[in-house]
Each structure stands twice: as C-alpha cells, then as structure tokens.
C-alpha cells in the first residue's frame, strides 16, 4: 500500500517549502494532480494495476457490456458463477476480422458464448455468440489493467502498489513542478528526474509489466 500523502510532504521539501500553506508557485491540489498523472502514465504503459471484476451479469441476447471503471486493457475474460463455489470458463480472445471469417452472420448469431472481443472501440466487451439461456444470468469475469481511483488530497492511498514506488510519483511531481514556467522553474532538475522515471519504468516493465 502506497500512501502518497507522505510523498507530497517530500515533494514540498524539494520545492523548498515546509507546509502546503507556504507553497508559492503551486497548490497542494496541483501536486496531487501531478501524482494522478503519474498513476495514469504508469497504467497506460504497463499492466501493473490488475484487478478482476465479476460485477457484470450476462443478459439473454445482449452481446455487449461496458468494461469495468478505470479499464485500460483487458487481459482475460471468462463467464461463470460465483456461488456456491466459483465456476468459470475462459473465453477465447478474437477480432472482428476473425469472426467475419468464421461466421458471416456473427453479429446476429446466438448460442453459448465462447469468444470475446473489443468491438466498437475499447470500452465495450462483446461476446460471441450472443448469449443464449446457457450463459444468461452468469457473471462476466474480466481481469484487466485499470488506473486506480483519482488521486486527491482526500484519496491519496493506492492499495495495490508497493510503497517503494512512491519515489516515481515524487519524481514526476518534482519534474512537472520544476518544468512549469515560473520564477522557480528548474529545467535541469526536471530533465534529470524525467530520466530517473525512465530508469524506474524499465524496472517496472521487467518486474511487473510484462504482458500476458
């Protein structure tokens, strides 16, 4: 669990201030916005914030479902039930091109769904075939990479991130603050901490971010 309220204190130190009220060129809200940018940058580059969502219920004849909140990339999809014990079957990932080659009438085909794809952009998970009574009422289980809740002064904890990576947020915040045009700009500091972020991103990619 990473607590970024600790990190913001470190950032304020590096911005030569001892308390949020003493910030001159920035506000504490802006510093947290920098942290949120860092979280979204991490999320779009690496599959690091991985969750499994089973809250979507499959409905008869309805093939498309919205992806979970914060979704960036789908890793795995399955259908099944959670009670009395979890019983899920994985679906095959596919594309429109593959389904057109498989079944000219794939849009209207109905049956036991065994395939999923992102149709109509990336924010909809579509099932093929369109669910019949064998899968309707079951849960759609999606393992996905998604960005955490927006980071603010009231919501500064990321449960699923090791605390060691708070430095990444500190460096992004420092780089952005010192890059900003002002009398307190320090482009050389911003450039250096940009490079530090690249170093840690390489580490993240090797340890955690490899695609499945």
């Amino acid at each position: 669990m990473a607590d970024l309220s600790i990190t913001v204190t470190s950032l304020e130190t590096l911005l030569n201030t001892s308390a949020p009220a003493n910030l001159v060129e920035w506000t504490e809200t802006e510093l947290y916005e920098y942290f949120d940018e860092a979280a979204k940058r991490l999320t779009r580059r690496f599959n690091v914030f991985v969750e499994r969502d089973t809250t979507t219920t499959i409905e008869l004849g309805t093939p498309s479902y919205s992806v979970p909140a914060g979704h960036v990339a789908t890793i795995h999809v399955s259908v099944g039930v959670t009670d009395p014990i979890p019983d899920f079957v994985a679906l095959y990932p596919s594309t429109v091109g593959e389904l057109e080659a498989l079944d000219a009438d794939w849009v209207d085909s109905t049956g036991t769904s065994d395939t999923w794809l992102h149709d109509l952009g990336t924010q909809t998970t579509r099932l093929y075939a369109s669910p019949d009574e064998t899968v309707s009422g079951q849960s759609l289980a999606v393992i996905f990479n998604g960005y955490p809740e927006t980071i603010t002064v009231e919501s500064a904890v990321i449960e699923s991130m090791p605390p060691v990576l708070q430095c990444y947020f500190l460096w992004h915040g420092l780089a952005e603050a010192r890059r900003r045009e002002s009398d307190m700009a320090m482009p050389e500091v911003a450039a250096h901490f940009d490079e530090r972020m690249k170093l840690v991103e390489k580490v993240i990619e090797q340890y955690w971010g490899a695609s499945q």
Binding site: M1, R52, A90, I143, E188, W208
Partner: protein
C-alpha cells in the same frame, strides 16, 4: 552504519554542522527521507532483500492480492507447497493455464501446481484447494523497512551503506537546482554503480538458485542522459 551515522555523514559532506540544534539547510528529518528513498530504490534495483513466508490459501479461491497478504511484497522468487516434501509451484501465464484447461479457475482438485503473477500484486493459483488447510511457502523479494530510530541500521549489506550517503546528497541538492545540483550528480552515478554491483551478484545468485525472477540489469540502462548530460552547465530558461 546507523541512521544517525548516515545522517551525520550526509550533513558533513554538505558542509552542514550536525551538532546544531536546528541545522540551517539540511535538517535531519529531510536527510532521513532521502536515505530511506535511497535504500528503498537500492533494494528495488538489486532485489537484495528476500524472505520466505507462509501464505494460507482459502477454499475454492484462485485469486489473491499479494500486498494484502505480505505488505512488503515486491516480486515472487520461489513458491512451494508448505510442509515437508512440499512440491514446487511453477510460474505460468494466464494463457498457459487456459491452454491447459479453459475451466482452470474452477479446478479445485488439490494443492496448486502453477501460479501466475500479474501487475504489482495480482496472483492466481491453479488448481485451488477445495478446503482450507493448504498453505504456500512464498519466497519473495522484500521491500526495505524504513529507517526511523537513530540506532536503526539499513538492511542492505554494510559495505553498501556509503551508497546511501551518495544517494542522499543529490536528493537534497535537488531543492537548490542549478550547478549545485548538477555537481552532486556524480554521487548519484556512484550510487548506481553500487546498486549495479549488488544487482549483478544477486542476479548470478538467483540464476544459481533457480529463482523465478532476476534483478534489473542496470548496466543495460543508458545513464548518459541521466548523469553525463546533466553534469553540463545549467541550460536554464531565460525568464
């Protein structure tokens, strides 16, 4: 070296008098933050801290968040079933498990043979036990605990403690920027040399151990933009 000794070493190098009740530029609290970040990053780069801990498995449960099980978890190094003669649990990808059995998430036929680690802490096992009582012995790379008390000693090997001083100096100079900061980057370069040395040792060791993960290969990272270019005179924007 203790935290107090490290703080003093940093302050002396920055021409701060540690004996002052209120140091002028580099208070001990700020130095401690820098030292802790340096130690945490050193451990991350080299994976030099590891531990083995027991992870109880819940009945009919395939998915876990490891940071809720082990707060200091970084990456898995080796997993086996707890107890005498416990078998190795092998790493796998989700598509490997799908290829094995599309219904693997529901397979509760016994203790796990495979695990999949995704993202920072998502963890899946296959198969899963149908009743409580099975545990895993998880050997994992561990994050460094923070230095808090003056007598606290860093967990990294003693011969690398001076590297933490090297890390703290440019960290503290970052608040000043300009030539002071740029001149301090040679310390950071030396810190990375130390982390690389430690990481190379751990890498060789982990290969010999047959561990599932290896430390980051720091020598493959191009430091020219990080250190060399930065060491040139400041290219500060004209106001």
């Amino acid at each position: 070296m203790t935290l107090l000794q490290l703080q003093t070493a940093v302050q002396v190098r920055l021409n701060e008098d540690p004996s002052r009740v209120t140091p002028t530029y580099y208070p001990a609290a700020n130095v401690t933050v820098a030292l802790n970040e340096g130690q945490a990053l050193f451990v991350l780069l080299s994976l030099c801290q590891e531990t083995t801990a027991t992870m109880p498995l819940a009945a009919n449960t395939a998915f876990y968040h490891m940071l809720t099980v082990f707060a200091d978890y970084l990456v898995p190094l080796r997993v086996r079933i707890s107890g005498t003669g416990g078998a190795k649990v092998s790493p796998a990808r989700l598509q490997d498990l799908d290829a094995l059995d599309l219904g693997w998430q529901s397979d509760n036929s016994g203790p796990p043979a495979n695990y999949a680690a995704l993202g920072f802490d998502f963890f899946a096992v296959h198969p899963q036990p149908s009743a409580a009582g099975t545990s895993l012995d998880v050997t994992y790379a561990q994050a460094a605990p923070a230095l808090v008390l003056a007598t606290d000693v860093p967990v990294i090997p003693a011969e690398y403690h001076p590297a933490l001083v090297d890390y703290a100096i440019p960290w503290l100079r970052a608040a000043e920027g300009g030539k002071e900061f740029q001149a301090s980057l040679s310390y950071f370069d030396r810190y990375l040399d130390a982390a690389q040395k430690m990481g190379e040792y751990i890498r060789a060791r982990n290969i010999a151990q047959g561990y599932d993960r290896l430390p980051f290969e720091l020598k493959s990272f191009d430091r020219s933009e990080l250190i060399a270019k930065m060491a040139k005179p400041a290219d500060k924007a004209v106001a």
